[in-house]
């Protein structure tokens, strides 16, 4: 097929599928509403760990878990989730209405955590700096 037909066809196809999906309400994201839901999603990728503590961000799109294998970060990917065990202390940056966490991971380079109040932000920063006694293992 000549490129001057294939190219525009692919482009228009991709854009229209994207618009259609969005209009049909498929851009919604999962929201963590309780600790059990977070633990359930965490165990999907880390079945061998036991979770002792959960902290959910203000938007419900991110959460921290304290496990017997270390501190874990789990976040929403559309209708699903991704998660990593993270080594503390870890670098954070203040962002508008939240903080961002830089992971040394090409598949998950930076995770933004939505935290509305200064109190919540400093709580997360303290956990991630390994300065929160109830979260240090």
């Amino acid at each position: 097929m000549p490129l001057h037909i294939l190219g525009p066809m692919v482009l228009i196809g991709i854009i229209s599928i994207g618009i259609l999906l969005h209009l049909l309400g498929n851009s919604k994201r999962m929201v963590f509403t309780n600790a059990d839901q977070v633990i359930d999603r965490w165990h999907r990728e880390h079945p061998e760990t036991s979770v002792e503590r959960v902290e959910i961000s203000d938007s419900g799109h991110q959460a921290l878990v304290k496990t017997d294998a270390g501190i874990g970060l789990i976040w929403v990917m559309g209708f699903d989730t991704a998660s990593r065990i993270i080594a503390l202390p870890i670098e954070t940056k203040n962002r508008q209405s939240g903080i961002s966490i830089k992971l040394n991971d090409f598949t998950a380079p930076r995770i933004k955590v939505d935290l509305n109040t200064e109190q919540n932000q400093s709580h997360w920063i303290a956990i991630l700096a390994a300065k929160e006694p109830s979260w240090t293992t």
């Binding site: 066809m9 991709i14 259609l20 990917m77 998950a108």
Partner: protein, 305 residues
Amino acid sequence: MDNLTFPDTVQLAVPFFILAIVLELTWITIKRRGGRYETRDAMTSVLLGAGNVVTGILLGFVAWGFYNWVWQFRFFDLGTSIPIIFICFLLDDLRYYWVHRFGHTIRWAWASHVVHHSSQHYNLTTALRQTWTGEFTGLMIVSVPLLLLGFHPAMVLFVGGINLIYQFWIHTEAITKMPRWFEAVMNTPSHHRVHHGRNAQYLDANYAGVLIIWDKMFGTFVPEGEKVDYGLVVNLGTFNPIRAAFHEWIGIFKDITQPNISMSDRFRYAFAPPGWSHDGSRDTSRIIKRKYVERNPEAKGKPGL
């Protein structure tokens, strides 16, 4: 015979791919079952598909040149009659089985193929989520026997394209099971859902392209049982298609260049099964299956475990 041309089937199929995606999406939206679509996930898939066509155009000459170079050493010239094309298709499907199996069991090839498994969804767009780096795996050598037997390079590429087009429609949850006889012989949505599962029992199963018989012959067939959890053992934390396309190559590079490991460990980081690590800090699918059975002893002996 050397200027033989076959139509580029994959490019010709693009309008049908787009139409079928719209139809599947409509079906799911109306019926409220039969699959899930997520905007960013689907966009990542189709962009990876488009990129696959682009890299195919840019790098296709590598395989084409290699095939033609091998062709000069052929033992026979089988021509291009319809029965020969059919036999070529069957043998190429066996070729596909092995390329696909190597794609899951050798990290160097997995680095390319992982892209296809990087979605947590399973719908027709997932079929288009294809590698940009297939030419780097070197697995084109698996086609050598076909060429030496006398199947023309253009025919080998043609039937390989038909094989990929067949696999498009099986990436759906809208079809539960096909008729019994069909499920017995052909690769189907049910068999291929298993292949995309990250459930312990579904890892390294159902490598088939068109015929499921190869998996039954070589002991890698697992029937669909428990609900499939789609995606990777460690799922991607990004929808960025460039990160999806290259992440495992970056992973290999980081692993083989780390300090204080032996040369043979560096070699294994590139060519051992995915998940191999010199310090046992990661799990291969074999270890994942073993640990699963330890946690769920009642599952021992089930297919795939």
